[in-house]
Symmetry: C2
Subunit: 120 residues, 2 copies
């Protein structure tokens, strides 16, 4: 590769931390993985799909991501209420990152020994 990765002594790290905050929270990433790749899901679908999540948390995290412009909320004015969620365009652009995360999870090599030593 031509360009080294880092972000070291020379990098501003500007705004990145702010962005990272959007992905924090117990369920954010999990939800994103369920909306991955342009999927459109109803509230109840997500609730059923995500094991262990409560309504409150689901709502809360969805709303935060909506406010952050990551997910879109579509309300159908019907007698049996219906709300669907999907990623916004920007949210879609997260897919490569999510995909990379998925691939990373698949690697999972040996458990590294802790407490390595070295002499100067």
């Amino acid at each position: 590769m031509s360009k080294k990765w880092g972000f070291g002594a020379d990098t501003p790290a500007a705004g990145v931390e702010e962005i990272l905050k959007m992905l924090e929270g117990r369920w954010k990433l999990v939800i994103l993985f369920h909306l991955f790749g342009g999927q459109v899901k109803r509230f109840s679908e997500l609730e059923r799909a995500i094991d262990g999540i409560s309504q409150k948390m689901l709502i809360q995290q969805l709303r935060q991501m909506e406010a952050d412009g990551i997910v879109r909320r579509i309300v159908y004015h019907q007698v049996p209420p219906k709300v669907e969620y999907c990623l916004t365009d920007w949210g879609q652009s997260l897919c490569p990152a999510l995909d990379a995360l998925l691939k990373w999870a698949d690697l999972r090599p040996l458990p590294a020994p802790t407490g390595e030593m070295a002499d100067n």
Copy 2:
């Protein structure tokens, strides 16, 4: 694209959530970005570089990631103690994902309008 992204009704989502937990925590990702691309940093370097973090949190998050096999800890037995941290091989394999995250942060398009409506 030939293969759709998802992870939808057909995907097990196996173990992914467990992996995601490794990246949770207020400072995990921030620290990773500072160890990005094979950088080796001392404890105090990280402490100074990461604005707002406390010693406790820095240690704690570093130790957790060490236990998870993401970062490596190198101790020099000297009178002025010296400890360095860097990514393990597996941790290094996270770089593409971190890089994608960085790129995503750069996009940051228009703020999506909240509360979109639709009729059935």
